[in-house]
Subunit: 297 residues, 2 copies
């Protein structure tokens, strides 16, 4: 058995899907859950996602082999404070946060620099849905999980967390904490901010009813991520603020350049910028598919 | 028979799908095609999308009941010049362009203000694909088509174009030219510019390989429209430049406000902005679905 007792802190889309995937793979004997919302925990129990839950986090993490923190980033530090006295020496703690430096900072502070068995992680998977009802066992299949192992990490702890995600069908890769946060600011945090900003902008326009009425599939896809959890995403934006502000500035400059081409009726150069973007995206998607296929074979 | 002879100028995704839908409905006796690319026209013929084609546009539109202009916006004026001598008094001309004022200006100029049978239209449907190979008969089912009828329009001409789209499964609505262009600038043209700008921005970053490698489903959906035709979209941006520049400015202001909240660590207000955006989007999608259902029943 890979994991005798798993403790999931925050049984939502990610925590719930991880529990479902590990249970289906038969590598987990017992799964305990902890969450703020007792109705939601009851639902998780009824759905068979967890075996039990408690509103006492020390009971949930007691004797766990692995504790997975799957809650909004701002809650990580207080949660670590409330569970640290109850964890056993063999317990490995990991998380699923979209920004890693703030999590590592919190862990370093609360765990008094004892980070041998604290392995930061981030599954690159999700939907705009939230909550255990939206969780499903296939969420991580053919998706990447980035681990950002720390110098102090016990290699066996890293290895077990890697196996845990591979069992769920994910491709696991390692990055440094800083590199992860820079890359994710660009590929994930910036697009979310743009989608929220667009909807917020359109909602204030005079003809906003018609704007939404005449939206097509492209608009729905473009703004899908603006239906993501506001709490989770405001936490991510604050947690990764330096990197995010930098890419927002870079984006604003590019948008300004495109505006200038439109203003000056420069359709030749505009077409070239659009063609280069299309080419980049089409090539990128093809390469990403090849990489996922290669890594799995 | 609704249409004895239909002439499609530009047999790509939209023109090809319209031909397929009308043929399937059995309301069109003969479909002639015209296009720049002879290989593509040959393909359209082989796929059974058109009955014949010619590189002489006057032969294609000769005796047509309806001529559909389905080419990039910058080509509308020269195409009208080349076909105007060949059209019969009964021929109705319509188009499918994403911006309407520039099309109407071109028609007014070329047709010497004889706009009785020139009915501007815009199907709110499409994919990021281009070309006749990507066309399919169901493209317009449960989608909206906006007509922007002109004062001079013969009501019978408007009625026939409306029927043509309804036969394809679309819901047809009318807007004024100016209103259409303002609404579409916000709901369609701005998102396309943002998607192109994002990809262009990310492509110039040092870690661009990793940025694309670690992108997830949200990013792919968000940037899907950046794989649209560069020629078509640079034409749209120039054709609707005043409205588009205005909404780009408004968007840039909203992005600046969100940046300021991130910079000042104001997670409370950030969460409120994101929550308002999510609420707007979720409500909007539900209302749009209701509207489409109501209109069809």
């Amino acid at each position: 058995m890979l994991i005798n007792k798993l403790a999931i802190i925050g049984v939502g889309l990610i925590g719930g899907s991880l529990a479902r995937a590990l249970r289906r793979a038969g590598v987990c004997k017992h799964i305990s859950g902890y969450g703020r919302n007792q109705l939601s925990m009851q639902k998780a129990l009824e759905l068979g996602v967890i075996d039990d839950y408690s509103d006492d986090i020390t009971r949930v993490v007691n004797n766990a082999d692995v504790v997975v923190l799957a809650t909004p980033l701002a809650t990580i530090e207080p949660l670590l404070e409330s569970l640290k006295a109850a964890i056993k020496p063999h317990t490995i703690i990991t998380d699923v946060g979209s920004a890693k430096a703030s999590v590592v900072r919190a862990a370093r502070k609360v765990l008094n620099n004892s980070l041998e068995r604290f392995v930061p992680g981030h599954p690159i998977a999700g939907t705009e849905q939230s909550g255990v009802e939206a969780s499903f066992a296939d969420l991580f299949v053919d998706h990447m999980v980035i681990l950002t192992p720390l110098e102090e990490n016990d290699p066996e702890a890293v290895s077990l967390i890697r196996q845990m995600w591979e069992v769920c069908g994910a491709t696991v890769v390692s990055l440094s904490v800083d590199h992860h946060d820079q890359v994710l600011a660009a590929t994930s945090h910036l697009p979310h901010v743009l989608a929220y900003a667009l909807i917020d902008c359109l909602a204030t326009m005079d003809e906003h009813d018609e704007i939404f009425r005449f939206s097509a599939g492209g608009f729905r896809d473009f703004t899908r991520i603006a239906s993501s959890s506001p709490e989770m995403w405001s936490d991510i934006c604050i947690a990764n603020r330096e990197n995010l502000l930098q890419v927002i500035d870079q984006f604003a400059n590019h948008l300004g350049e495109i505006s200038a081409l439109i203003r000056s009726n420069d359709s030749d150069r505009l077409r070239k910028v659009f063609a280069r973007a299309k080419q980049t995206r089409d090539t990128m998607l093809a390469e990403r598919q090849t990489l996922l296929t290669k890594t799995k074979n």
